[in-house]
């Protein structure tokens, strides 16, 4: 519920307000996109904390570049009858940690 609300806020932000400083993020994915992935896949407090750290990192003192969110759990619930398309790739990073990488190519399914 809160998650959905926060995600919709982020979407609104991305649609309109981000224009003020559009294309100024030093990272891929951008801070708002990073936040969205975080809030989709991680517990709220972790997502909030990680997003805050990311925004604080997003200035000229840091190099920028590719910085994917990390997650601990694999919650790939596959429904029985439906083959849902892949939304995220979980790329393992060490013990129990996965990089979240969004799947942008269409047409493939799980």
């Amino acid at each position: 519920m809160i998650r959905k609300f926060l995600l919709s806020l982020l979407t609104i932000y991305q649609k309109f307000f981000t224009l003020i400083g559009y294309g100024s993020c030093r990272y891929y994915p951008t801070c708002s996109e990073y936040a969205k992935w975080q809030f989709e896949k991680n517990p709220l407090h972790t997502a909030f904390f990680q997003t805050l750290l990311r925004i604080l990192r997003c200035n000229q003192l840091f190099p920028g570049g590719i910085d994917y969110p990390l997650t601990k759990k694999l919650n790939c619930k596959i429904k029985k009858d439906k083959m849902s398309p892949i939304k995220y790739w979980y790329v393992p990073k060490g013990k129990n940690q996965y990089y979240l990488i969004k799947n942008f190519s269409k047409g493939k399914s799980c």
């Binding site: 649609k15 309109f16 997003c58 000229q60």
Partner: protein
């Protein structure tokens, strides 16, 4: 058109429609309201005689009760105000004589509401006594006084059948007053703080209502129209009934005094406090001017509030006031504030400048990547970002410096909205009131133009051509958006743009010089 485009188009169109609509059909003014209120008040007085409901009888019209048109008992003239006391022993009105507070329609600013409770009104808990009291006029030891340099002592006396009420009031030229109420015997009574007038054309987001500030530094604000059932407070430092720029305040009321906040018919808060046989406290009625309040009693400055954003707006105002003491002009203080923020962010921008030099080596590779991932903006972006990181050269400013601007911007907005000092503050040339919109539209246009130019010379990183298009229109949208904003805020944004342009110009120049040097090697 994609759904995205349509949505944005719809938003822009509806915004302009709203703007046009409100100019063609200005909101109706409530002229009849006041007359209605007057009749309601008379009714309520009659009603209260029949029942013991405390909800009624907060307001009493001196003229209706006394049946005489001349209800003014004493008139006190200060340097820039006239204060009148009526036959019910209340502050009938305080009229500010300064031109900056005057309104085209209603003339000079008046600090007490025409209807509703007035400051220092006494209501007795006993109904019969109350009935008698509102029919018995007070007498005063003086009719007129000049407070310009000094103070005036007014003694008001009301002789009821078995009770004598004495109000010893000392008014000072800065707007505060001492109150000492004595009753010839023990009775239960309440003293009212008074209501502030409501303006039909109040500015967006400005808060009006009542504030109770307790000794443990908690301020409770009851906004007009939001008052609920009667609430009692003790251990209060001050209680204030405030509008955008003015307030009626009681302070030094004593720790044990009970302050009650009730609601009137329009759900506006009504404040009164329980008095004792010998009851003394202090009051203030006038503008919420930081320096005036601070000189009377530093605790009074807690009555200045900037809404929920006070925690950021109050320090910002302190800093602006500090700058103002040096430059003597609020407009220049805002310009210096912008410069200071720029200087604080300089380590960041300097780091960015350094990496600029390296960009040249990177740019052919970026072009290469752009060609390689044509039609796949996500992958292209990722590749470009990684390249920037590898080469240690990132032309983008980052989200943090941008997001930092938002609270500053909002705090300035709140300060311009609520700080009475900025009302009628001049800058240069045509700007005569920083707290009000620029009537010539010149400042917003300058703002739009500088913004456009700043965008023009700042590198950015677009993946979506649609968003790039909107981005290019943003200065235009902002110009219209800023037209109604206080001039001080537009000034801040415009100066900010100009500094950004100057900074970017230096960077670009350095970059060009570096490029030249490299090609000559």
């Amino acid at each position: 058109m994609t759904p995205n485009q349509r949505l944005i188009l719809a938003l822009v169109i509806s915004f302009f429609f709203l703007m046009a609509y409100s100019t063609v059909f200005p909101p109706e003014e409530q002229v009849t309201n006041e007359q209605n209120a007057t009749t309601q008040v008379t009714q309520s007085v009659e009603e209260s005689s029949g029942q013991t409901n405390v909800d009624l009888g907060h307001d009493t019209q001196a003229t209706t009760v006394m049946g005489s048109s001349d209800a003014v008992l004493a008139k006190l003239t200060g340097e820039n105000y006239v204060l009148t006391i009526d036959t019910l022993g209340r502050i009938e009105q305080k009229e500010m004589l300064e031109a900056k507070f005057a309104d085209d329609k209603i003339g000079n600013a008046k600090l007490v509401a025409q209807t509703g409770a007035k400051p220092l009104y006494i209501r007795f808990a006993d109904n019969d006594l109350n009935e008698e009291a509102i029919k018995t006029p007070y007498s005063s030891n003086l009719k007129e006084a000049n407070l310009v340099d000094g103070h005036a002592k007014v003694t008001l006396t009301q002789k009821l059948s078995d009770l004598v009420v004495t109000k010893n009031l000392t008014f000072y030229s800065d707007g505060h007053y001492d109150v000492q109420i004595s009753m010839s015997k023990d009775v239960r009574y309440y003293v009212y703080l008074g209501m502030h007038p409501t303006f039909s054309d109040k500015q967006m987001m400005s808060v009006e209502g009542v504030m109770v500030y307790s000794s443990n530094e908690i301020s409770t604000i009851v906004k007009d129209g939001d008052a609920e059932n009667m609430t009692s407070y003790v251990d209060t430092v001050l209680v204030s009934s405030f509008s955008q720029y003015f307030a009626s305040i009681f302070y030094n009321v004593g720790r044990d005094t009970t302050i009650k906040v009730d609601r009137d018919r329009d759900d506006n808060p009504v404040v009164f406090m329980e008095g004792s046989k010998e009851f003394s406290f202090n009051g203030y009625i006038g503008p919420k001017d930081y320096k005036i309040l601070n000189s009377i009693n530093p605790e009074l400055t807690n009555a200045i509030e900037y809404g929920w954003f006070t925690f950021a707006a109050a320090p910002l105002f302190q800093f602006l006031m500090f700058l103002h003491d040096y430059v003597g002009n609020w407009g220049w203080a805002i310009v210096i504030l912008t410069l200071v923020i720029r200087i604080l962010l300089f380590p960041l921008t300097f780091k960015g400048m350094l990496s600029m030099a390296k960009l040249k080596e990177v740019s052919p590779k970026v072009k290469e990547l752009q060609a390689k991932f044509k039609g796949d903006p996500q992958r292209m972006n990722a590749a470009v970002m990684e390249l920037y990181k590898k080469e240690g050269a990132n032309p983008l400013g980052g989200c943090l410096p941008l997001l930092l601007q938002i609270p500053v911007f909002f705090a300035i907005y709140r300060v311009l909205l609520n700080a009475v000092e900025l009302k009628g503050a001049e800058w240069i040339f045509w700007i005569t009131d920083l707290a009000h919109m620029d009537p010539t539209y010149v400042l917003p246009i300058i703002m739009g133009a500088t913004m456009f130019y700043q965008q023009h010379i700042t590198p950015s990183n677009f993946t979506d051509p649609m968003q790039e298009k909107i981005f290019k229109f943003l200065p235009l949208i902002f110009t219209f958006f800023f037209i109604t904003f206080p001039a001080g805020l537009v000034l801040y944004w415009a100066v900010n743009n100009i500094f950004s342009i100057a900074q970017q110009a230096v960077v670009n120049k350095k970059f060009a010089a570096h490029k030249k040097a490299k090609s000559e090697e």
